[in-house]
Structure formats: structure tokens, C-alpha cells
């Protein structure tokens, strides 16, 4: 029985152990971790919530993108998906929930009503949740198909990929030093 060839490497470390080492930038690693485990805070207010539930179910599985953990607690979630009509009566409650989410946080406005008030040009409907909180991705549709919501989530993932995470965290320090 011939013994297997010894692994020879001219680097100063054992490639059997350290062959699984990747060199990358901290930003890229952090962004990769964040975008692949976006835990949603489902702000399901109206009909779009049904499509959100459908997206979370088995046929359109949002879990493939790391977002199956629908944390109904804002303290434990990353992205707030505002799905449905935001009435003025509910608006401040949505803002309160948004304020309770820890950084980093993103917002997806799902559907026509959350993006711009939808078909409800009236005295009782807030004309878009972006009048209260900063929105990262708008998804059009009434309601948007689950595939559209998944595409919106993928667009958010692409946006997160391009962020400067460490610089954002240390923004005040950088501004002081600069």
C-alpha cells in the first residue's frame, strides 16, 4: 500500500487546516452576514400581509433568503416590511415600532399603500410610510406577487452589499479625526 503523497506547501502554515481560510475585507464579511440573515419585522397592516404570509410559506419560501424568522418583536429584527395601508390612526404606532428597532435596520415599503397611499387619496390614509420613516426599497403592486416581494428583498440585499458598514459604525469617530 503506497502511502498518500505528503502535502507539501511552501507557505508557512498547514494548508490542510488553513485551506479554509479566506481573505476578505471586514466590510464585505459584515455585509454578507447581514444580507443573508435579514430577520423581518412584519408590519402587516392590510391585504399585503396575506401576500407576505404567502411569501413566507412553502411555495415561495422567503426562508431561502434567510428571512424566515419573522420576529414580531422589533428588538430582534433587522428589516421592517410595511405591508398594507398605513392609516393616520396607526401611523404613530408604526413609527414607535420603527424607533424600537436597533441599528442596522432597513425598511421595505410593500405595495402601493405603503409606498404612496395607494388608491386611498383620502382624509384617513397616510400617503406613504416614507413620510414618517426612511424607506430603502419600494415594491409596487396591489398586492405585489410573492415573487415581487422576493425581488424587493434581493434588491435590499444588493443595497446592503454596497454599504460601508464599519465606516458607518464609526461615523462620529471618523468625522472627529478627519
Amino acid at each position: 500500500m503506497a502511502s498518500p503523497d505528503p502535502i507539501v506547501s511552501y507557505a508557512a502554515y498547514d494548508s490542510k487546516i488553513e485551506g479554509n481560510v479566506i481573505f476578505t475585507r471586514v466590510d464585505a464579511a459584515i455585509n454578507w452576514m447581514r444580507k443573508n440573515s435579514l430577520w423581518p419585522m412584519p408590519m402587516g397592516l392590510a391585504c399585503c400581509a396575506i401576500e407576505l404570509m404567502a411569501t413566507a410559506s412553502s411555495r415561495f419560501d422567503i426562508s431561502r433568503f434567510g428571512a424566515e424568522v419573522m420576529r414580531f418583536s422589533p428588538r430582534q429584527s433587522d428589516v421592517m416590511i410595511v405591508a398594507g395601508t398605513v392609516t393616520y390612526k396607526m401611523a404613530l404606532a408604526v413609527k414607535r415600532v420603527w424607533d424600537q428597532m436597533p441599528e442596522p435596520k432597513w425598511c421595505i415599503a410593500m405595495g402601493a399603500c405603503a409606498s404612496s397611499g395607494g388608491m386611498y387619496r383620502s382624509y384617513a390614509v397616510l400617503q406613504g410610510i416614507d413620510r414618517l420613516i426612511p424607506v430603502d426599497v419600494y415594491i409596487s403592486g396591489c398586492p405585489p406577487r410573492p415573487e415581487a416581494l422576493i425581488e424587493g428583498l434581493m434588491k435590499l440585499q444588493a443595497k446592503i452589499e454596497g454599504e460601508q458598514s464599519t465606516a458607518d459604525q464609526k461615523r462620529t469617530f471618523i468625522d472627529d479625526v478627519a
Binding site: Y88, K89, A91, L92, G117, Y120, R121, S122, Y123, A124, V125, L126, Q127, R131
Partner: protein, 189 residues
């Protein structure tokens, strides 16, 4: 008894207080004076068997006097007959509450109070139900714009004016074809 017989019985009982009865395509409507409204509704529930209050609604005849009108839809639980009771209400008057007759009248009357501003006497909890306590307007009145008015109650709620882009888009009923019936901006005189 059928609704037709009920209408005749009510006419006999209330006489001149019933201003008008209408029969349209099988639907019976009784128009009654506000002073006899509560007694008539009680009679409908207790003697004529209208167990359920299906709906309580209100109309705003802006420019007419009396300005408002209350509409009650009554039916028994087996849905064998329907009766509509209407009563005109002027701006200063208040309507006797039907909560002591039907428990289901509670939230309907709260909605009428919230949206139209008609007060009810004898209501156990006359608070706003759709808008919030402290909202200064009555949205379904004819002199309130669809787009709304700006208000602000800090920590409770705020409202803004919705962009209507030229007015509510309404269709013209009875247009000859779909092109003519397309919704267009209605110019409010």
C-alpha cells in the same frame, strides 16, 4: 306578518307621525318624524318581530333643512322581511339612541357620531370609533373635502391633505359607452 302588513299597522298606530311610506321593487320604507322614531323602532322590535338591526346610516342633505337623515335597516333573524325606517334630523337636534332596543346599534351609532356628527341621547359610550378622540372634524359631511384637512395631536395622531391631482375621479353614470364612462376629475362647484 309581512313587511307590507307591518307598514299598514305602523300607519294605524302612529298616524300623522309617519310622513311617507314607499314601496320600491319589494323594499318597504317608512319615513317618520324624529319625535316618534324611538317608539316606532321599539314597536318594530317588540311587536313586529324585527330582531336584528342590520344597519344604521346617515345622510347629509347639505343645503336642505333639516340637514341630516337617519336610516335604519331592520330584519328578523330568519331574513323573511326587511323594513327601512328613515327620519330627518336637523343640525341642532339629537337622536334618541336605539341601544336599549338592539345592542347591535351601539357601534353603528358611534360611527354615525364620528363621521357625521349627529349626537345620540342615551348612548352608553358615545365616543369616536374610526377617527380618534380629539379629531376636530366630521369627515363624511358634504362640506368636508375628500382629501382631508391638516390636524395635529402630538403623540396621538396627525393628518395631512392627500394629493388628489385635480379632484376625485368619478364616472358619469349612464354614459353611452365605456369611453364616456371613464372616470374623470369631477369639478366641484
Amino acid at each position: 306578518m309581512s313587511a307590507e302588513a307591518d307598514v299598514l299597522l305602523l300607519r294605524e298606530t302612529f298616524g300623522a307621525k309617519i310622513l311617507e311610506t314607499v314601496l320600491f321593487r319589494g323594499e318597504h320604507t317608512v319615513q317618520v318624524e324624529l319625535s316618534a322614531l324611538h317608539d316606532l323602532l321599539a314597536k318594530c322590535k317588540n311587536d313586529l318581530g324585527y330582531d336584528m338591526i342590520l344597519d344604521i346610516s346617515s345622510l347629509d342633505h347639505f343645503g336642505d333643512d333639516p340637514r341630516f337623515e337617519m336610516v335604519y335597516e331592520l330584519a328578523p333573524v330568519d331574513d323573511s322581511k326587511h323594513l327601512r325606517v328613515r327620519a330627518k334630523v336637523s343640525e341642532e337636534e339629537s337622536v334618541p339612541s336605539a341601544v336599549d332596543i338592539w345592542k347591535g346599534a351601539d357601534w353603528h351609532e358611534r360611527e354615525v357620531w364620528d363621521m357625521m356628527g349627529i349626537p345620540f341621547t342615551g348612548h352608553p359610550n358615545l365616543k369616536r370609533i374610526l377617527m380618534w378622540e380629539g379629531y376636530p372634524f366630521f369627515p363624511l359631511r358634504k362640506d368636508f373635502p375628500l382629501a382631508g384637512r391638516s390636524t395635529d395631536m402630538p403623540d396621538v395622531a396627525f393628518t395631512g391633505v392627500a394629493p388628489l391631482e385635480g379632484g376625485p375621479f368619478v364616472t358619469t353614470a349612464g354614459g353611452e359607452d365605456t369611453v364616456r364612462r371613464e372616470p374623470r376629475a369631477r369639478v366641484v362647484e
